[in-house]
């Protein structure tokens, strides 16, 4: 019984640690007039429902990507890919460009006034503007 308690406490602790480590921010170009954004709005760009901003992605294998989509769109990476394939194979839109690291995402967002990306909060710096912290 005691052992069980310890285990669950450990599990809870791991959860909260993991949650803190995975805090993700959505970033845009500093020139972008937007100052904040709702999760539902962000989801539209990353699911290809709106072409107002150009989303950029981390690699499919990235745990940040998986967390980001799970929290913002409620879908896993595969489901998101299925949604994009409806747009890609019909010529309506191109899938988000993938960048290998958060540093490259920042560079891409800093270079394109229309770009929107996501990075871990710890990587945030003045080259991009955070408009939403994904809890």
């Amino acid at each position: 019984m005691n052992k069980f308690k310890t285990l669950s406490v450990a599990a809870l602790l791991t959860c909260s640690l993991a949650a803190r480590a995975e805090e993700v921010v959505i970033v845009v170009n500093p020139q972008n007039p937007a100052t904040r954004m709702f999760t539902e709005q962000a989801a539209q760009f990353f699911l290809g429902k709106s072409s107002m901003f150009t989303p950029v992605d981390l690699p499919e294998s990235s745990p940040i990507r998986a967390q980001f989509y799970r929290k913002v769109t409620g879908k896993d990476v595969g489901e998101v890919k299925a949604i994009w394939s409806r747009l890609v194979f019909t010529g309506k839109a191109a899938a988000p460009k993938e960048y290998r690291t958060s540093a490259e995402v920042k560079k891409a967002v800093a270079a394109d006034p229309n770009a929107i990306g996501y990075i871990e909060k710890s990587a945030l710096d003045g080259s991009v503007k955070a408009i939403l912290t994904v809890q």
Binding site: Q44, M52, D76, E79
Partner: protein, 423 residues
């Protein structure tokens, strides 16, 4: 106005060099991507075959790969931030019962601004809610689109142009698309040797497609109208020939008028459809209904389906029900008897003609419903496994089943399993 896709491809090198000159060394990028399905399909009878729309043959008791498998390759050449060229080739088994690849789409796209895009070349005919990705198995829940509805318009693409407008109305994303062009499609001709087919042509095909997305809800309204011509239908040809012959021989012009009414020669045809999709958390609901109207031997039809699914992590079990009903837009106006004073052979001829017209009209009526259950398993980020069981119930005759033995009118169970992938 019918820009041939090959001409567009020929124009490519010119476009590239112009773009280079203008942007001072902007390097055009080429992206290749693809999708496919590898699936086996089987049915529980040997007296009829189950196939997708416009396949000449299908699955019987032994599993076949030709019903649900396909492979699509798409290349996009992005010249600059507003101009791109896309070509898509699709290999599948269709009307001639042979594996073949065709140039599915080939168009130039100009992104005029954030709202407007213009397309020219071989573009999608936007007649259904999932028109443009119905062959991309990975993008769909079911292993195949409900055939009751997706058999009603034979044109996948048109050679012409389309314009698309995207905008936000409050929190609603609105897309309005208009397409115009001509089309030509080979149609399977049942009971003939592989390789033979009929041809259906659309003259001045016009389609309007309105899509509104609001959060988890998508609503769609579509209307398409065209003039159709069907060539190479031997039964219809024989029937109209006999009517015209008798009409001329006995001076009964109503027979000629009936022949004209039946003939599929530049006849108006339209398809109106509505669709609704809900993708809320773990719940998925998708439904469409369509009404086809023609003024010819091709019957009018009403078709619809409802699909519901629920996500359990990477697994999504789903159920669907689809229905197709049809009615004749032309009625049998062959007189029961000839006026007094006509030759003795006249009335028996009319009776034979009347029976042939009734038989022809009845055989055109295709009605069936299908109940399906299935499971989609997203076992990887780029591939999904699907398994689906269908209970197909033909209402008159053999419904949409193929190559049925005479008088076949039994329910058929179909099972298919396979993997959808994108790359």
């Amino acid at each position: 106005m019918k820009p041939h896709p090959h001409l567009l491809l020929l124009a490519l090198p010119l476009a590239i060099s112009t773009a280079r000159a203008e942007t001072g060394g902007f390097a055009p990028t080429v992206d290749m991507s693809g999708y496919g399905t590898a699936a086996y399909t089987r049915a529980n009878t040997d007296q009829a075959e189950f196939g997708r729309f416009n396949q000449l043959g299908g699955a019987k008791k032994s599993p076949v790969d030709g019903v649900d498998s396909n492979l699509g390759i798409q290349g996009t050449l992005t010249v600059n931030d507003w101009l791109s060229f896309t070509g898509q080739g699709l290999a599948r088994k269709l009307a001639t019962d042979r594996w073949g690849a065709d140039l599915y789409w080939a168009y130039a796209k100009a992104q005029v601004n954030k709202q407007w895009s213009l397309y020219a070349g071989r573009v999608v005919a936007p007649v259904y809610m999932i028109s443009d990705y119905r062959n991309v198995g990975f993008a769909n829940t079911m292993i195949r689109p409900p055939q009751e509805m997706y058999s009603q318009v034979p044109f996948d693409s048109i050679d012409g142009a389309s314009a698309s407008y995207r905008s936000m109305l409050g929190a609603t994303n609105l897309t309005v698309q208009f397409a115009i062009g001509n089309a030509r499609e080979k149609l399977a001709l049942q009971g003939t040797a592989p390789g033979s087919h009929q041809t259906i042509r659309a003259h001045a095909f016009k389609a309007l497609n309105v899509l509104a997305e609001h959060g988890p809800v998508t609503f769609r309204l579509g209307y398409a109208q065209t003039d159709i011509t069907l060539d190479g239908d031997p039964a219809l040809g024989a029937l109209t020939g006999a009517l015209n012959g008798a009409g001329a021989g006995y001076a009964l012009p109503q027979l000629n008028r009936l022949a004209d009414a039946l003939a599929v020669n530049r006849k108006k045809a339209s398809f109106m459809s509505v669709g609704l999709a809900l993708d809320l958390d773990d719940i998925l609901v998708q439904s469409e209904a369509g009404k086809r109207r023609t003024q010819s031997a091709v019957p009018d039809s009403t078709s619809w389906y409802v699909l519901g699914g629920y996500r359990f992590g990477k697994f999504m079990p789903y159920v669907s029900y689809a229905s197709l009903k049809s009615s004749n837009s032309v009625s049998n106006t062959v007189p029961a008897a000839c006026p007094a004073g006509y030759p003795d052979a006249c009335t028996p001829t009319l009776q034979a003609l009347s029976a042939a017209v009734s038989g022809g009209l009845a055989s055109g009526l295709v009605e069936q419903s299908t109940t399906s259950i299935g499971l989609r398993w997203n076992f990887s980020q780029s591939a999904a496994f699907k398994m689906q069981f269908d209970r197909v119930r033909p209402r008159h005759g053999s419904g949409l089943l193929l190559n049925a033995t005479p008088g076949f009118n039994r329910d058929v169970t179909v099972c298919a399993a396979g993997v959808d992938f994108v790359f």
